[in-house]
Amino acid sequence: MRSWIVLVVVTALTAALPLAGNNYLLRLATITCMYAVLAQSWNFIGGLAGYPSFATAAFFGLGAYVSAILQVHGLPSVAAWGCAGLIAMLFAAFIGGAILHLRGHYFAIATLVVAEMLREIVNTTPHFTGGGMGLNLPIMRMSVGAQAQFFLFAMLGLSFLCTATAILVQRSKLGFGLRCIQQNEDAANVLGINTYAYKTAAFSLSGVFVGMAGAIYANWTNYIDPPDVFDVLLAIKPLVMVMLGGLGTIFGPAIGALILIAFEEFVWRNFLTIHAAALGFIIVVLILFLPNGIVPLLRERVARRGASP
């Protein structure tokens, strides 16, 4: 119950941001919501099920291109976003069938490779996708301020949906099954859990919202090309965010997203030439000293304080 309250409150507060009147702040908030969606989605397959997926970039790019191509052919934007999510989900289910039987390293590599393959396919079909030249989306007839708000609400709405799904999954049989799979897949199998179905469900969930996020992103920037929407950093950063916030928790991904984005903005403004190293540094520190992320750390502190006489 508490999770729902937190979710609603945070969403309402973010929705009130336009009152601050600063377009750039809205842009930052929109990016944070987008990464929160990516991180939360990754959490389904990576945090709950324990399967290290790098397919986030694949789903994102796929969603972006599907939506862009549909819109170039006349479909209205919101409908295109929905289609993008659906196609990403189906794609995840399809690919899942092929690679979810792999463990550990091989699964990780396979997911990386899927993104690269999709990127190359887009690159080499220019008549359809614009190829290396990129694709321009039809501009929305809206004032600048209205656009900033529109996309903030779109991403915010998506992250609300995604987190709500996460809350539901956590409490459900699916969530329980996934946690069993993470701890010991063979034992889970023996216990009668249909690991194949559960893993596929998790993988599909990890794709649907990311696909929609990619679609919204495409409209937001008006122009997409393969290196940008299939960027491997789109797969790595959500992972780092979840690790930062806490694997398998509900709000960990969003917290991680907020912290990482804030840090990046600080670094971009002040340390132009070493921003990549700064991100690397955060990752190293995180892994060496904060292996479980921040949310479990805070929980521990709170628990300890509560327990002391």
Partner: protein, 402 residues
């Protein structure tokens, strides 16, 4: 020399950080015009980003030393707000928007290249801030009926048709053409323009191959081209691609009578790196230090620009350097013509420009792309670029390889 690389990098880093901090300093006593310049100062495109920066810096220095820009009864100094978008296009768009909303720039320079320019132009159009693009030549960039986007590289046909005509006029038995293009907005577009141009001269395109961005081995493509026995080989890409292609052509015995490459030979680094293999490579360039124009811009003439460049940076400018510098000069001309720094008025003034500058005649088509230039065709002879066309500035004759 190693330590000087290091210290130059450190100095550049500090300078960049310093410049980035500039807008946060309290406003100078004199009014300043701010121009935003999102650049790829790191990442794969950083060599080009740094060229753009050099061009802008020379303009700022020249304009301020000559008394600033006068408009509406006031005198302004000019300053540039830089940010590094790390060769990442979405970041370029983001930076452009932030410069407008936070840094309150009056005008914008476009990021590097056709792709990023196209993406960022949506922002400048949204906010009604004039943006000038020094490095976007593909027509696709200018096809959205935007009013606030201008570019100082002429369309890709202008760097394709002249050389097609030149070669066929000089040696009619050149018949078979092989094309190798990088699968990227500009290199692919310019290769396609070239294909059209040679077909219009009744030449036969025997192969047209595309290579992926980041390809490190062209043996397969070159072997294939060799099998087609071309008289003329054309390769498009960026400098690192072209260096590799040239070497591998030599390794694999592909020796056409004419070899044309774009867009690397225009840079002095190309001939230096490739050494004797650069001999007889033909190319086109949107501008070349050998041109001679007298202009109403702040530099005054091509010779004066070359001298100023030599003094500040040593060596010669290439077309990216010059295009960037002239973009600054164009903003200045627009402000002076409009006698105001109001974006809409300056935009109209720039659109109406019809003026000579050190770079050549500046006149923009309705799409915003410049259409008043004749990009020179040149050939590397003895390690130096020799202009072959247009006739007014011709320096030498076209040579064929045996």
């Amino acid at each position: 020399m190693f330590t000087s690389y290091l210290s130059r990098r450190v100095a550049a880093g500090i300078a960049a950080a310093g410049v980035a901090v500039l807008p946060l300093l309290p406003a100078a006593a004199q009014d300043a015009i701010k121009v935003g310049a999102p650049l790829p100062l790191t990442g794969p495109l950083s060599p080009e980003g740094l060229k753009q920066k050099r061009g802008y810096d020379l303009w700022v220095e020249t304009a301020n030393t000559k008394g600033g820009i006068k408009a509406g009864g006031k005198t302004y100094t000019v300053e540039i707000v830089y940010t590094d978008y790390a060769s990442n296009t979405p970041r370029a768009v983001q930076s452009a928007e932030r410069m407008i909303t936070d840094d309150k720039v009056n005008f914008l320079f476009a990021p590097f290249g056709s792709g990023a320019t196209k993406a960022a132009s949506a922002v400048s159009e949204k906010y009604g801030i004039p943006m000038i693009a020094p490095t976007a030549s593909s027509a696709e960039v200018y096809d959205q009926s935007y009013k606030f986007l201008f570019g100082t590289l002429t369309p890709n046909e202008t760097v394709s048709e002249p050389i097609a005509k030149l070669v066929t006029e000089n040696k009619p038995n050149i018949k078979r053409v092989a094309i190798l293009a990088r699968n990227d907005l500009f290199p692919l577009a310019v290769a396609q323009a070239f294909e059209k141009a040679v077909k219009a001269q009744n030449l036969e395109v025997v192969t047209f191959e595309r290579y992926a961005i980041g390809t490190m081995d062209h043996a397969a493509a070159i072997t294939q081209m060799r099998a087609a026995r071309p008289d003329w080989v054309y390769a498009s890409g960026y400098i690192n691609d072209l260096i590799l292609i040239r070497r591998q052509m030599n390794d694999l015995g592909l020796k056409p009578q004419i070899l044309t490459m774009i867009a690397g030979p225009a840079y002095p680094e190309f001939a230096k790196t490739v050494g004797p293999l650069a001999e007889n490579i033909t190319s086109m360039s949107w501008w070349h230090p050998a041109v001679r124009y007298k202009g109403k811009d702040v530099f005054g003439s091509t010779e004066a620009f070359n001298a100023a460049w030599e003094k500040k940076y040593g060596g010669e400018a290439d077309y990216v350097d010059a295009s960037s510098a002239v973009d600054g000069a164009i903003i200045q001309l627009g402000i002076e013509a409009a006698n105001s720094i109001d974006p809409a008025k300056v935009r109209d003034a720039i659109a109406a420009l019809d003026v000579e500058t050190f770079y050549g005649k500046i006149k923009f088509a309705a799409s915003g792309q410049i259409n008043s230039l004749q990009p020179p065709v040149f050939q590397l002879q003895g390690g130096q670029p020799v202009v072959l066309w247009p006739p007014a500035i011709k320096q030498g004759e076209l040579r064929f390889s045996p």
